[in-house]
Amino acid sequence: MKLPRLKLIDQLTLWFLLVTALVLLVGGVIVFHVVQREIIREDARRLQDTVEMLARSLQDGTEIEQLDGYQVNIEELDPAARKIPMHVKDTVAWFPPHQHYERELRAVASYKINNKHYQIAASNLVPEQDEIADGVVQSLGWTFILLLVLVGLLSRFLSGRILAPFNQTLQAVKSFSLAKQSPLRLGSTRTREFKLLNQFLENMSRKAVADYRSLKEFTENASHELQTPLAVIRGKLELLMETEISDRQASLILAAHEAVERLSKTNQALTLLTRMENQEYKSNSLINLSTLLHHALHSYHELFLMRAIGLETELEEEVEVRLNAALADILLHNLISNAIRHNDQDGRVKVILTSAGLLIQNTGKPPQLQPEELFHRFKKDNQSADSIGLGLAIVKQICVLNGFEVNYQYQEGWHKLEVLFNPPSRKMPEAAV
């Protein structure tokens, strides 16, 4: 069973009211019994007193007729009969005004006065059990309703006050972004738990920012430190090319040169991925994807011609998405060059851009990898062993970073790569991005 998500204060209130209801229920039973017992006991005592008082009056010579009356009954018994000791009966009696039986308490005793034997009885109507129960339920019911209203109102008010530091902390954590590189600053509070929580969060964010900084520095340094020796090697090879060399030497130089190119491209791509993971690319403005796509396609124009690949486009104009401009460029170029690279000679490429998404599809041999594996780093189809196998991983990362969804399908000879700008699964826009 799935319970609805409740606010902390509502949960507390609910539990409090539940416990209160239980207590009131048990309390009600106790009250009922105690009240009933007290009424009966008090009435019985009073009735016994009345009987004794009547007996004394008879002793003093008062006439029976003067004493006998409503709720009092005096009868003469056989003088030889045994004396009836004082006792109280809980019984019912016919109540003429209401024309039905009512609960009645009756104290009876007999006395031998002046050689006569009198039985004296005093009775009184007492509240019935269900009447008492009614009263108890009603009073406790009203108490509960009063509690409900008061606790409900007060909890709202108090939660605003007591939980204010907690809510502030929540807000601060929500808007915390590693990329901003400033640790959390949380206000002071007099609640011990919140103070501990704030201290813990502040320390943690400080640590995270420090780690992030060192990781960022490492990435930058690694990128630079690797690029420099690569540039050295490349330069040496280029200088070597200009010396007198044999064909054999030239082919060795060429192979080394190509390996260096690959290495440097791989390094660049990995650096880019790391930087994206570090959320260093902020997407703070809308960019016109239509224009960018036109430019990108234009820059590949020659390549399409050279490989005799037919290009069809259906581009909606003025499509705007929230995306970092540099990343948008990389995204489009990776997708387009991918569609060219994994294509057949005389193949086709179809590009469809709408405000909902971008679909780039190209003809080509069926993939040998599982579709989801295509987005993994260094996974690549044998078809083009030259690629470094990071292009789609970068595409995926850009999409993840910006809340896009990227799907791949192979259908009837077409590789279809689709980027959805507002996928249905899109969650809350990430504050950190």
Binding site: E220, S223, H224, Q227, T228, P229, L230, A231, V232, R234, G235, K236, E238, L239, M241, E242, I245, D247, A250, S251, I253, L254, H257, V260, E261, S264, K265, Q268, T271, L272, R275, S299, Y300, E302, L303, M306, R307, A326, H333, N334, S337, N338, I340, R341, S384, D386, S387, G391
Partner: protein, 230 residues
């Protein structure tokens, strides 16, 4: 164009030496310095036509050096070297008055062509024509002539011819040409057929206008504009 004086500020000695070796063949005067401090001294004492400046120096940020150069009424053209993907450095560098930037790892002919281009822009405003024998190329008007006949070149072919003329007798690898013509977009392309296609077209157009076929292939490495040809 007189002898160009170039200061190379690069902490990696091998890389600095590569650049120097490459530029020496052009007859440039090259000086090397490997640290921020050394560069400061050199810049106070001497003047240079061009400065090649690596932004990441062990004892200081190259951008600060650039600030000093620009504040000191120094007319030298500055080419900054930055790590790839360090977009901020590029933008900041250009804002601070650098004339161009190049990212590591670069091709030496590319560095040379950039240097030459910013040097031309800065000091040879009057006439931006490069001539070799019957071929003359005007980088401003984007006109290329063979024996005074205008060549009908595409933009890419024009750039390619200019690149060859700046790098006369140099081996230009296909990667280097590809990056020169298409910039970063070649990152994802591993097929250099299109370089071959452009070179072929350019050669055809030059010979068709009566020019000599100076451009030849070098082993499998690339192409060379050979001034001693035929």
């Amino acid at each position: 164009m007189g002898t160009m004086k170039v200061l190379i500020i690069e902490d990696n000695r091998e890389l600095a030496q590569n650049i120097k070796d490459f530029l020496l063949r052009e007859g440039y005067l090259c000086e090397l310095c490997f640290s921020f401090e050394e560069a400061e001294d050199k810049l106070i004492s001497y003047s240079y036509d061009c400065i090649v400046l690596d932004i990441m120096l062990p004892d200081g940020n190259g951008l600060n050096l650039l600030r000093q150069i620009r504040s000191g009424n120094n007319e030298s053209s500055v080419l900054i070297i930055s790590a790839k993907n360090a977009l901020d450095d590029k933008v900041q560098g250009l804002d601070l008055g650098a004339d161009d930037y190049i990212t590591k790892p670069f091709h030496l002919p590319e560095l040379h062509s950039r240097l030459k281009a910013i040097y031309r822009r800065k000091f040879l405003r009057a006439d931006n024509t490069i001539t070799f024998q019957e071929i003359s190329v005007n980088a401003d008007t984007m006109e290329a002539k063979v024996n005074n006949t205008l060549l009908d070149l595409t933009r890419k072919e024009f750039d390619l011819l200019l690149y060859f003329l700046i790098s006369k007798n140099r081996v230009l690898s296909r990667q280097s040409i590809a990056e020169h013509l298409w910039g970063d977009y070649t990152d994802n392309l591993d097929n250099f057929d299109f370089v071959y296609q452009h070179v072929k077209n350019l050669r055809k157009k030059i010979t068709a206008s009566g020019g000599k076929d100076y451009i030849g292939t070098v082993y499998g490495l690339g192409y060379r504009f050979d001034t001693s040809r035929r």
